[in-house]
Amino acid sequence: MTQLALVIDLNVCVGCHACVTSCKEWNTSGWAGPMTDLRPYDADPSGTFFNRVQTYEAGVFPHTETYHFPKSCLHCEDPPCVPVCPTGASYKREDNGVVLVDYDKCIGCKYCAWACPYGAREIDEKQRVMKKCTLCIDRITDLTLAESQRKPACVLACPTNARLFGDVHDSNSAVSVAIREEGGYQLQPEWGTKPANHYLPRRKTRIQIHEDELVRADNPLKKEQLPTPEAGETLDDVAW
């Protein structure tokens, strides 16, 4: 069975929020839209977003690491939000594993959000139904689009290519390779929800300079040694 998912590379995410607004832009006028904004030009604006980028700090100065952490629905293989839904509005697609909400069935009881340990669902306060990342289901399955465009908006937008998209059940897919080779991991694995989305950790490149690389045969200073004085005494002249 296909399980589509995102693999998010924390090693290169610079926290630019491109995935946040490209998602909003695509989805507000798409199948999942509109994604309404509350108080858009007033105090405490608060709209529906499917994806957020957060910032964390680890360590104490000067050994501080700054992490940018994009978070959206993880499309769990065993999604806790689906069985709790009383109407069947929350469902996981058989064909590609995407977890979706049928907005015509949703009664806005928020129980699915309570059942999600990741905070991946946000209610649309105007339409009063639960919304969440659809993996841009209306893009990725739209055969009228070129294949290169059949990806979630966030993936296409991401300037650092920190978001990979593909089938994590296909062991040859780019996402599976990345998970396997770059140490891909799941969030809160303790729950057994088996999130399909994975994250790739920070990886550090270091350079080790050896002493012998600093004492060099090609040291150009050797060329600048002063010429022998033409005249004057030397030890040869005065020693016996």
Binding site: L10, H17, R39, D44, P45, S46, T48, F49, R52, V53, Q54, T55, Y56, E57, A58, G59, V60, E65, T66, Y67, F69, K71, P80, V82, P83, V84, C85, P86, T87, G88, A89, K105, C106, I107, G108, C109, K110, Y111, A113, W114, A115, C116, P117, Y118, G119, E122, I123, E125, Q127, R128, V129, M130, Y185, L187, Q188, P189, E190, W191, Y199, R202
Partner: protein, 325 residues
């Protein structure tokens, strides 16, 4: 979790309603066993109407919890997997059965249909009452399991949650039955009062246990697991937005520890201590008003208790919403 008043009223009102019905039916059984004097049909009918009214009020309260109440009928479809769906079935079932129970009493359909073992005359109210009792217990279970089944919310994910809903519902229902009896001048005040005190004390034990439990455990997941970054000092700086979102509104109570402590003492006093004392005094003083006061105080206390119940729940999603910048 942010306390949702619609749900607080839903659970406390239907709990009292179910409890009241159970009190009525218990009374009926006792009188059948001739342990209590037989009550008028009017008493059962009126009691059922009260129970039904509470259930309806709870249902009405629950509507405010829904974004799209006009589609609420859809919520009955997923009973195979969803405790909420099961509740949505159990609640009207209980309401219907209680309605029938009251109606049959009102209509006086109490002629025995058959007699078991030559000593137990079974009439239609007894059968419907038994079914309604079953429905009430199922409803208690469903309501409590909505919370107890959420394994991510450790404060709720416990059999104690079911015990609390059950005992506290029964306590408030019996308390109301005592109050009704006192008000109507029947001689069942002591009976209901005693059982109300017993249920209250049981509830006290279970609720006390859950408070104790909830004050001691650590969440299964921490920031490190939430991010997959295994660094001892890990703090959020920015949650990605600043004007608030569903995630910050729904899952945070935003109340101070001092407020919650005060609330806890208050609900412990109002749910457990005061009603028991009032019932005791009611015995001693033979007051017909004190049981009413006991119920009212306990109910208000239960609203606080349920409010506190929500604030106890620490949702793991909150790990992602600690700071803004």
């Amino acid at each position: 979790m942010h306390p949702a008043f619609s749900v607080i009223f839903l659970t406390t009102l239907i709990g009292a309603g179910q409890g009241l019905f159970l009190a009525l039916y218990t009374g009926q059984l006792y009188s059948l066993a001739q342990l209590l004097p037989v009550q008028s049909e009017y008493f059962y009918a009126l009691g059922s109407i009260f129970a039904l009214a509470l259930l309806v009020a709870g249902l009405v309260a629950s509507v405010f919890h829904l974004g799209r109440p006009e589609r609420a009928w859809r919520a009955a479809t997923q009973w195979r997997s969803s405790w909420l769906s099961r509740e949505v079935i159990a609640l009207p079932a209980a309401m219907g059965l209680i309605l029938l129970y009251g109606l049959f009493h009102y209509l006086g359909w109490t002629n025995p249909l058959f007699v078991v073992s030559a000593t137990l005359p079974v009439d239609i109210t007894l059968i419907v009452g038994a079914l309604a009792t079953l429905a009430s217990f199922v409803l208690f279970l469903c309501t409590a399991m909505i919370y107890a089944s959420l394994r991510f919310i450790k404060a709720w994910h416990s059999p104690l949650t079911v015990a609390n809903f059950l005992f506290l519902g029964i306590a408030s229902g019996f308390m109301l039955a005592a109050a009704l009896s006192a008000y109507m001048g029947t001689e069942l005040v002591a009976f209901y009062g005693t059982w109300a005190v017993i249920a209250t004390l049981l509830g006290g034990v279970s609720r006390g246990s859950s408070l104790y439990r909830n004050s001691r455990f650590r969440c299964k997941v921490d920031m490190q697991s939430a991010l997959g970054v295994h660094h001892a000092q890990l703090h959020q700086k920015a949650q990605g937005f600043m004007g608030g979102s569903f995630n910050t509104r729904e899952f945070f109570h935003g109340k101070s520890d001092a407020f919650l402590l005060m609330l806890r003492y208050l609900f412990l006093l109002m749910v457990f201590v005061l009603p028991v004392l009032l019932i005791l005094f009611a015995y001693l003083l033979e007051s017909s008003r004190l049981p009413v006061a006991a119920f009212v105080i306990q109910y208000i206390g239960l609203v606080m208790e349920r409010y506190h119940f929500f604030t106890e729940a620490r949702h793991p999603q909150n790990l992602y919403y600690q700071s803004m910048a």
